[in-house]
């Protein structure tokens, strides 16, 4: 456990000293700031963060892979993975340590976006339900996206490949709910239920449904599990 902490702490330090993370942060805040202010020009603007949440999940399809692509791909590239894997560290400690670091950086970004909520509460009286639920949804959604990005980073030594594949998976999952209409029968239902957006939309409307929480937690657990197995597979004969 102490080693997982050490891995996480080292990665957090690298996040806060690397330009990539700041660029990701800048883009995230610039774009979501734009989404937030978009409706404010209306004659009768609504005191809501819904445009921000809707925009943020699209932005994260692009930005989450950028945050995770370095995590293991760079270790493979530099060869430092050789020292990591020959140290008495369990594979899950490496994966969990790296994952926690990416979550911490992501939470800082989300934390900065609280400014939008604070502005709403100061200058208007928004319905707090959808805002709390929306943030819970955004955090779950982002955590799932980071777990997917971590898996692709574990599979390659090329950061670009990692990012592109992660974006592909995220886009596929994002649009999976379209299968409800286009694929008939049970198959369409199954694929549709796998969609990220369908499970996220309830949160943005202020509904906290256990099904949706279970869905996101399952996605996170599934991709972390695959990441650990992928790392472990280097030791298979």
């Amino acid at each position: 456990m102490r080693t997982a902490q050490a891995v996480a702490w080292k990665e957090i330090q690298i996040y806060f000293s690397s330009p990539t993370a700041y660029i990701v942060g800048l883009i995230f805040l610039a774009l979501t700031g734009f989404f937030f202010t978009q409706d404010l020009g209306d004659p009768f603007p609504e005191a809501t963060l819904t445009p921000f949440f809707d925009g943020a999940i699209i932005v994260f399809i692009l930005l989450a892979p950028a945050l995770t692509m370095r995590l293991l791909a760079e270790e493979s590239k530099l060869g430092t993975i050789e020292l990591l894997l020959t140290s008495p560290v369990r594979d899950w400690e490496i994966i969990v340590g790296k994952y926690v670091a990416s979550i911490v950086f992501f939470l800082v970004l989300v934390g900065l976006s609280f400014l939008y909520a604070i502005l709403l509460f100061v200058y208007a009286s928004p319905d707090p339900g959808p805002i709390y639920a929306g943030y819970l949804g955004l955090i779950l959604y982002g955590s799932a996206a980071l777990a997917i990005g971590l898996l692709t980073s574990t599979m390659t030594n090329n950061q670009i490949v990692s990012a592109v594949v992660a974006m592909g998976i995220l886009l596929a999952l994002f649009f999976a709910d379209r299968a409800f209409g286009s694929i008939s029968g049970k198959a369409g239902e199954i694929v549709g239920e796998m969609g990220l957006r369908g499970h996220y939309d309830d949160f943005a409307r202020g509904v906290i449904d256990t099904t949706n929480i279970v869905y996101f937690v399952s996605v996170i657990a599934f991709f972390l599990f695959l990441s650990i197995r992928t790392l472990e597979s280097r030791r298979w004969r």
């Binding site: 080693t3 050490a6 690298i14 060869g79 430092t80 050789e82 020292l83 140290s87 560290v89």
Partner: protein
């Protein structure tokens, strides 16, 4: 300390090593010697648990590197050939991090860190980012992380490659010092280095161990022929056939350096021909200017063993 049995590793259809067996005693310095691509790195990666063997087993201190990997890994300090380091960390932070990964308690890391920094002479570079260090200093950081947790076994893959001659000497001295209390396995393709540092040498070629002995025994015993270098004052055309006619002489080669005629005589094993040669030379009225027994250098043995050629 190490017991490797019928180790085999295939990269796809190509065998990197085949049926490699060896043992290393506690406190021994073992050298792997072989040309590039012989299988040295593959063997070391298997020992350290980075690469699983396709067949065969390795145990460290009784722990199987595959089955009881974690226990085995606790006993190893490893310096890979490429010296992989996190270039965006300072020397201090990097070593602390590696210490934690190796399972050292925070309270143990601090005092040990200053020892290791002294031993590896990194004192002035504690706060320097590793990315800014020269190759030689990176090598020292690499050694520092390998010895930090005082492992029972040190595995060093080409520890002196790519650093300047002064640092090479320092590094060799350091390895010898470490070898007093720790078991060391190192690889090299530099023969004098191995004969200088190691207690025992494994010569590996094309994935097979072709010889295993102390550097001295390798040089003494494996040669099969004794050699004499003789300088004779006399007409070469006459001297050569006479020398060749001596009983026990296997072959003679002649070189003429500015009128100094030297003959390299290869005798059959176990023969001391010095008396016979000097009598023949003097009996023919020539002058004997020099007579010297020449052992076979490790370099020559190495070539002999790895190129399938008679010298």
């Amino acid at each position: 300390m190490i017991k490797a049995e019928s180790l085999t590793h295939y990269y796809g259809p190509y065998p990197a090593i085949q049926d490699v067996n060896f043992g290393v005693r506690r406190g021994e310095i073992l050298g792997f010697l072989g040309p590039n691509g012989a299988g040295k790195t593959t063997t070391m990666r298997i020992i350290t648990g980075f690469l699983p063997p396709t067949r065969g087993t390795v145990t460290l201190d009784g722990y199987d590197v595959v089955e009881q990997s974690l226990e085995a890994r606790r006993r190893v300090g490893y310096l890979p050939e490429t010296v992989p380091l996190y270039t965006d960390m300072s020397v201090n932070n990097y070593l602390k991090y590696m210490g934690t990964l190796r399972g050292m308690a925070p309270s143990a890391i601090k005092p040990r860190l200053s020892d290791v920094i002294d031993v590896c002479r990194l004192g002035d570079y504690r706060k320097t980012h590793i990315g800014k260090l020269s190759k030689g200093f990176r090598q020292r950081v690499g050694i520092a992380q390998a010895i930090l947790h005082q492992p029972q076994l040190l595995v060093l893959d080409e520890p002196t490659i790519g650093i300047d001659p002064i640092q090479v000497v320092e590094t060799r001295k350091l390895i010898q010092e470490l070898g007093r209390d720790q078991t060391v396995v190192l690889s090299s393709h530099i023969l004098p280095e191995v004969s200088m540092i190691c207690d025992r040498v494994l010569i590996i070629n094309e994935g097979h161990i072709v010889a295993e002995d102390t550097p001295k025994n390798l040089a003494d015993g494996l040669q099969g022929v004794e050699r004499l270098e003789v300088e004779i004052g006399g007409p070469a055309a006459e001297v050569l056939p006479v020398l060749k006619a001596i009983r026990g002489v296997h072959d003679v080669s002649h070189t003429n350096r500015d009128g100094r005629h030297t003959y390299m005589i290869q005798a059959d094993a176990g023969q001391d021909l010095r008396d016979a040669i000097s009598q023949v030379v003097i009996g023919n009225g020539w002058s004997l200017r020099g007579l010297q027994m020449v052992g076979m250098s490790l370099e020559e043995i190495f070539l002999r063993l790895t190129t399938h050629e008679e010298l």
